[in-house]
């Protein structure tokens, strides 16, 4: 645990308050940050962490309160002012222009727009020098679109360092990294701190926070509920501060897999990359089997083929070779066929793909099944029937936010958690009268961006469905979720899926190794060691 360095505060927040309509995102938050200090901002989704740093960086203007850098007030509302004052930010969703080069992205905004000449050579040299100094090597000429997620993060950090940041804000930096890559990042961060930078590190991962930070600030419901040194804090203390109550997160009890035809079976599944020069396949000879009543998780860093696997299992994509059978049948690659076969699908992006935001709740509830005889006859919709079923869904799955307009609520207005409940309900009730649970559930990042209560709800639903006989395929980048729910875990790397082994045979080290592409044999050797 690093010792507290004594220094005058390089950053001071006083009474930051911010409202978004009825939502109080930040409530009178006051904080100090000393030079050379690492301050962790901890809190669950929706606690106000991202809002606070967005205010710091100038994306938002606080309703009241001040920010001071080295004792001088920071003009609010302009990233330019923050950048000039030495505040840099590594956003959770990288702010990089894919079609431009690394150097372009770093140089952007650093030269006067009125000056007609661009000093690229000097900039390139400086960038390479910075990269070597902090162990963040990237090729300045490389096009960002071709970089891996870890490399892109390096570019984001270099952007800030290039501009001489003295305070660096990192918003959930390890969300997209393997455990080993996170280690490398921490080493880099320690180097930066040794060079005099102060860091604000947002995370919801308690282990990391305890390891990397000097002090921890816990936000809950927009308020700063705890500010304590990392030394002497422990996970249960932090968890309780974060959530305000002890939430019992559902965990998978050991359950024997059922016999019978697999809910889903992939054999040598291969999907080639588009275009004439195929290159590395998007999915490369994947073998996977999910039995009824079992939960199989596919872990891995984003961008290794999980999205393609999900599309395949949702019926959006066809195989180039190999076979896919759902409940024993081979299905043509059409989403509707998969829906009719009883596959319950929860997509990764609930806003863009899960629901049609402008339509009413009942219309989204019936979006997958409106063509069936139960809901349409000779092309005419049975609106009342659909509305009634939607009402039943709302009640059974506790979808809130419908007080004013009921099933006519415009779906866009639901909160993330309620929207996910709607999608969950739509998927799980897909079986209709004959089937009580769907034979296969494909859940892709089902709890991304949800608060703890909603996460617990979704997990419980998945566990209940598995207990009732559904086969569940969970694709998740959240290792905590994977370990909490899965019977068997397989790791995806560069389009290849490792063998799915029982959850107890994995630990953080072995799974991290597999996520980074380490060999199966090595993983098997370390798996014997206790977690």
């Amino acid at each position: 645990m690093p010792a507290d360095p004594p220094s005058p505060p390089v950053l001071r927040l006083t009474g930051i308050t911010k409202r978004f309509g009825p939502l109080l995102a930040n409530d009178g938050i006051s904080l100090d940050l000393a030079q050379g200090e690492v301050l962790a901002l901890l809190g669950e989704n929706g606690a106000g962490k991202s809002t606070l740093v967005a205010i710091l960086f100038g994306h938002y203007v606080a309703d009241s309160g001040t920010v001071e850098v080295d004792g001088r007030a920071l003009p609010p509302g302009h990233p330019r002012a923050a950048l000039d004052a030495g505040i840099g930010m590594v956003h959770q969703h990288f702010t990089l222009a894919d079609n431009l080069s690394v150097l372009d992205n770093v140089m952007l905004g650093t030269e006067s727009l009125w000056w007609p000449f661009s000093r690229r050579d000097a900039a390139r040299r400086r960038l390479v020098e910075l990269g070597m100094r902090f162990g963040l090597a990237v090729d300045p000429q490389a096009r960002v679109a071709g970089l891996s997620v870890g490399e892109r993060q390096r570019v984001e950090i270099l952007k800030a360092l290039y501009r001489g940041a003295r305070v660096l804000i990192l918003d959930e930096p390890t969300a997209v990294l393997t455990p080993q890559e996170s280690e490398t990042l921490f080493a880099t961060l320690r180097q930066m701190v040794a060079a005099g930078l102060a860091l604000i590190f947002i995370s919801h991962k308690l282990d990391e926070v305890l390891r990397i930070s000097h002090r921890i600030a816990v936000l809950r419901g927009g308020r700063l509920v705890a500010l304590l040194p990392a030394a002497g804090a422990d996970k249960p203390l932090l968890a309780e501060a974060m959530v305000g109550r002890s939430v019992e997160m559902p965990r998978r009890a050991a359950a024997p897999a059922r016999q019978g035809a697999p809910a889903c079976e992939l054999r040598s599944a291969t999907v080639l990359a588009p275009g004439p020069a195929h290159g590395r396949p998007l999915l490369d000879g994947v073998d996977l089997q999910v039995q009824p009543g079992e939960i199989v998780a596919v872990a891995g860093v984003s961008g290794n083929g999980q999205a393609v696997l999900a599309e395949l299992l949702c019926g959006q994509l066809a195989l180039d070779s190999g076979s896919l059978r759902v409940a024993g049948r081979a299905l043509p690659a059409r989403p509707r066929t998969f829906v009719d076969a009883g596959v319950a699908r929860i997509p990764e992006d609930r806003h863009a793909v899960g629901v049609v935001g402008d339509l009413a709740l009942w219309e989204n509830a019936v979006l997958e099944r409106y063509h069936r005889p139960a809901y349409a006859r000779l092309g005419v919709l049975k609106r009342r029937h659909a509305m009634a079923d939607a009402q039943a869904l709302v009640e059974r799955f506790d979808v809130r936010g419908t007080e004013a307009a009921g099933v006519h609520t415009v779906t866009r207005r639901l909160s993330g958690g309620n929207m996910q409940k709607l999608i969950l309900g739509r998927a799980l009730m897909a079986g209709g009268a004959a089937r009580t649970v769907p034979p296969l559930i494909v859940a892709n990042q089902p709890t991304w961006g949800l608060d703890v209560g909603a996460v617990a709800y979704v997990h419980q639903q998945l566990l209940d469905a598995a207990a009732a006989g559904s086969g569940v395929l969970l694709i998740s980048e959240d290792l905590e979720e994977v370990f909490a729910l899965a019977d068997r875990i397989a790791v995806m790397h560069q389009g290849r899926l490792g063998a799915a082994r029982p959850a107890r045979d994995w630990n953080l080290a072995s799974i991290g190794l597999a996520m980074a592409g380490g060999g199966q044999r090595q993983a098997a050797m370390t798996a014997g060691a206790t977690a």
Partner: protein, 356 residues
């Protein structure tokens, strides 16, 4: 100053929006009328009178509104599915040409078939012509990602030239003494007048029926559901299993057909033959009408009557006080922008301060 999304769209703003838009429009138009040296108040009075102030004016307005309802519906259904059909003008002309091809007095007497067969055939041909014309750009959009706005626009020019070539050649009216016009429709195929001493014809109730049918389609049928879902979020609709490509094709056929019918109705109801200037921009006005009506089929009827009244009134006003007739086009274009802006304020409000 910046825009902030409202939590619930303001009811009062939604009702006021069209009114504010019209007021803003008339304000701009007043400046133009004054510039032309005409007395503003009198000009407006003449406009209203010319459009709605007498039995004759109303029949003229309703006559003008008939094709506008149909092109308005064509734009409304296409825009609902985010298929920006700017080609209604060309589809109208091609539909008119197809109608004359089937029902015209070719070689003196035309097809010798009973009216109850020939009339629907004529209408079907017009609808088919318009539909197929839009199908090309629609497929280019869904298969190749080519922006349909530019392709449909360019097709308008191509179709107009094609119609010109037809009128100079195979479909020329031999008795027309050199004017480029087509052969006339057979007499029994022309639409009846609804009233004496007025030009409004039985195409109007047909257009109204079309509006009702479209409204019912969108609200009550699976096809309408698909159109609305695909228009609002095509990715989510595709994920849920809707056949997005097929829906786009259906919408294109429907929209093009409506515009083609507008052409047939104009030929059968007004002149009886096709000329190169038979449409003073009905296709483009249809887009404005659809936006004014917020893409609602029944609203299209009201908006079409309104726009028709402006166009007719401006004609008579300009003859009386010497304001150029282009004032009508200016009013219609300004109304479009005004309505867009006004509708925005039902969902957003202006806030002081540089950032949120």
């Amino acid at each position: 100053m910046r825009l902030e999304r409202r939590d619930t769209p303001s009811r009062s703003a939604a009702l006021l929006a069209p009114v504010a838009a019209i007021a803003g429009t008339l304000g701009v138009a007043s400046l133009l009328v004054a510039w032309a040296g005409a007395p503003v108040a009198q000009a407006y009075w003449l406009l209203l009178e010319g459009g709605f102030g007498s039995r004759f004016a109303i029949t003229e307005t309703l006559t003008r509104a008939t094709p506008l309802i149909l092109t308005g519906l064509a734009a409304a259904v296409a825009f609902r599915a985010r298929l920006f059909n700017i080609g209604a003008e060309g589809q109208l002309y091609l539909g008119a040409l197809a109608a004359v091809a089937v029902g015209g007095l070719h070689g003196g007497s035309g097809w010798a078939a009973p009216v109850w067969l020939l009339f629907p055939a004529m209408m079907a041909a017009a609808a088919l012509a318009g539909a197929l014309l839009l199908l090309g750009p629609a497929l280019m959009k869904s298969r190749l990602g080519v922006d349909e706005v530019v392709t449909t626009l360019l097709l308008n020019f191509i179709v107009l030239l094609f119609v010109g070539a037809m009128l100079d050649g195979p479909m020329k009216d031999p008795a027309a003494m050199g004017w480029p016009q087509s052969v006339a429709l057979q007499e029994p195929l022309q639409l009846d007048r609804l009233v004496e001493r007025g030009r409004v014809h039985s195409g109007l109730p047909g257009a109204l029926v079309a509006a009702l049918l479209l409204w019912a389609l969108l609200k009550f049928t699976t096809h309408g559901f698909e159109i609305r879902a695909v228009g609002a979020n095509a990715r989510a609709a595709a994920f849920a299993g809707m056949p997005v490509g097929w829906v786009t094709v259906k919408v294109a056929l429907l929209s093009g057909a409506l515009a083609g019918l507008a052409g047939a109705v104009e030929v059968a109801g007004r002149a009886g033959y096709v000329t190169l200037d038979m449409s003073p921009g009905y296709g483009y006005s249809g887009i404005v009408i659809a936006m004014l009506a917020a893409l609602h089929p029944l609203g299209v009827v009201a908006a079409a009557v309104f726009v028709a009244g402006i166009l007719v009134g401006a004609d008579s006003m300009s003859r009386a006080v010497g304001v150029p007739t282009y004032i009508a086009d200016v009013i219609v274009a300004t109304a479009l922008i005004a309505v867009l802006v006004a509708t925005l304020f039902t969902q957003y409000r202006l806030r002081r301060g540089p950032r949120p």
